[in-house]
């Protein structure tokens, strides 16, 4: 189907004898945003990394923006896909603006730096920032690198975990806007309220896909217990 941006079929991945992904199948169309939920160790990050082509040993079929990311040339695969790591890092003593200049478009970076409240921090070294400010700086760089949202794929691994409320709401709005502009967005998150705001929620448990649908159908009492065990549901 022309609109299909991400398609996974029977995707499996094993490491150190442990099955981290077990026969996962899902597809995302252009304009679709989905939250990926699951307890720690359920396979959310592994699924996003597999979709980003970072796990060459993954078995099964993966198509992202028309390419198999495991075998496609990195430059071709990166053209229409961004992947936000859970714990981004940066070597050397870079400033926020220097990080922003890595692979992003300058005008777009200025815009995102403004939206994520980074303009006043632009000349500060990353090492002098808080964890949340650093996460925002990495997101601004990534968001500013995407040229054409229609048909693009955004794989975001807990992008708001360290952010304050203002920046969190900016990212929430950005995800909605990307989807409205025709991108497919898959976001791993532990933020239950945010996950409930997505039109579609995909739940993982021990590497298997256990639920996929609108939040009202997916968020059953059993799933909430399984995913947010220990947290007040």
């Amino acid at each position: 189907m022309a609109d299909l941006v991400l398609q996974l079929s029977r995707v499996a991945y094993e490491r150190c004898g442990r099955r981290l992904l077990d026969g996962v199948g899902l597809s995302l169309r252009a304009g679709e945003a989905a939250a990926l939920v699951g307890a720690n160790g359920a396979g959310k990050t592994t699924l996003l990394r597999a979709a980003a082509g970072l796990l060459p040993a993954t078995t099964g079929d993966i198509t992202a923006t028309g390419l198999d990311p495991r075998t496609a040339a990195p430059a071709a695969a990166a053209r229409r896909r961004i992947y936000a790591e859970q714990h981004p890092s940066c070597a050397w003593d870079q400033t926020v603006a220097e990080l922003g200049a890595l692979g992003s478009r300058p005008a777009a970076w200025k815009d995102w730096a403004g939206r994520l409240a980074l303009t006043d921090l632009a000349e500060r070294p990353l090492a002098s920032l808080s964890g949340g400010e650093r996460q925002a700086a990495h997101l601004a760089r990534l968001f500013a690198s995407l040229e054409e949202p229609y048909g693009a794929l955004l794989l975001l691994d807990e992008p708001t975990a360290a952010l304050d409320r203002g920046r969190r709401e900016t990212v929430h709005a950005a995800v909605r806007a990307w989807a409205q502009a025709g991108a497919a967005v898959l976001v791993a998150t532990h933020d239950e309220a945010w996950a409930r705001a997505f039109p579609r929620v995909i739940a993982l448990e021990e590497g298997r896909l256990i639920a996929d649908g609108p939040p009202a159908a997916v968020f059953t009492a059993g799933l909430v217990r399984a995913v947010w065990a220990g947290s007040p549901a």
Binding site: L54, D93, L102
Partner: protein, 314 residues
């Protein structure tokens, strides 16, 4: 404060002045001599110091960028040691062949440097940064011991190899000896400059660089082969030389920030300036008691390095 392109222009101009000074300085009489005769005699040595220094600076900057490690330097990670071991094997085993075929010297040094680089990547890349350095230090010690062993077994090459171990080969510079290594330094250096963008992306980590479009395998392959080539050619010119590859990139980053588009060329300019200064001071500062460029480099470089380390991490 970061200086940008101005630092590169100023550095290149300063290198030109240093070169003119080096051509004019000497124990065999100061100045350029009658019709530039003295300068002409000193020219191969000055050219060799500039080419080797630039290659060492670029090699250090590339290795630091590739391994995301500020202490990675071909001098510490054994790549220069491997180059010298390659030369020792050739000069110890087949000295007649080596001197009859001048190309075989850089070729042997390249084989040694590439061998050590391959082992370094194979054994030390994964895991914490300390593993890479410890692996490199081990390889370096092994290569140095191998060179000494060969020097002891091959009396006709013994003095030459010992001088190489002490970074004291610049004094032998002659047009015939330096032409090939200087050309290799220039070629490998120019090719290394093209790695600026992927090295910038690699600062984000391997996975982020790959998902941003960096072809890691290609980058690694090119960086390792070209660094080995630059290290081999530099070793043919000066012998073992510590600190230049470590210091030049640190100074460059302190001046212009972390972008490799500026760090790489500035590391080359600063590496050339450092080695040329060390060599000129060593041969001209104390008439009658010349000091090897490596010794002067260590005397000047060690305190400078401690200062940089304190400034950045204090």
């Amino acid at each position: 404060m970061r200086l940008g392109r101005g630092a590169l222009i100023a550095g290149t101009a300063a290198l030109g002045l240093l070169a003119a000074g080096a051509l004019a300085c000497g124990t065999a009489g100061g100045g350029f001599g009658e019709g530039g005769a003295l300068a002409l005699l000193r020219f191969p040595r000055v050219a060799a110091a500039i080419a080797a220094g630039a290659a060492l600076g670029l090699g250090g900057a590339t290795q630091q960028g590739l391994f995301r490690n500020p202490l990675a330097d071909p001098g510490l990670t054994g790549v220069f040691g491997g180059a010298l071991l390659g030369l020792a094997v050739l000069l110890g085993g087949a000295p007649g062949f080596a001197w009859a075929h001048a190309w075989s010297l850089p070729a042997a040094a390249f084989a040694g440097a590439l061998g050590v680089s391959g082992l370094l990547v194979l054994l030390g890349r994964e895991g914490p940064p300390a593993r890479l350095l410890l692996t490199g230090l081990g390889l370096n010690a092994f290569a140095a011991a191998g060179t000494l062993l060969i020097a002891n077994l091959a009396p006709e090459s013994r003095e030459l190899l010992l001088n190489g171990s002490f970074g004291d080969w610049l004094g032998m510079a002659s047009p015939e000896l330096i032409i090939r290594p200087v050309l290799i330094c220039a070629g490998a250096g120019a090719a290394l400059l093209t790695l600026a963008r992927p090295l910038d992306l690699l600062a984000l980590g391997e996975e982020a660089a790959q998902t941003a479009g960096c072809d890691l395998r290609r980058l690694r392959r090119r960086a390792i082969v070209l660094t080995a080539l630059a290290a081999a050619a530099a070793t043919c010119l000066v012998g073992q030389m510590a600190f230049v590859g470590l210091l030049a990139p640190h100074l460059a980053r302190a001046l212009v920030g972390p972008r490799h588009g500026l760090v790489l060329p500035l590391s080359a300019v600063l590496g050339a300036a450092l080695l040329l200064t060390a060599d000129t001071l060593g041969r001209a500062a104390l008439p009658g008691t010349p000091l090897s460029a490596a010794a002067v480099m260590a005397l000047l470089g060690a305190p400078l390095f401690v200062w940089i380390a304190r400034r950045h991490h204090g």
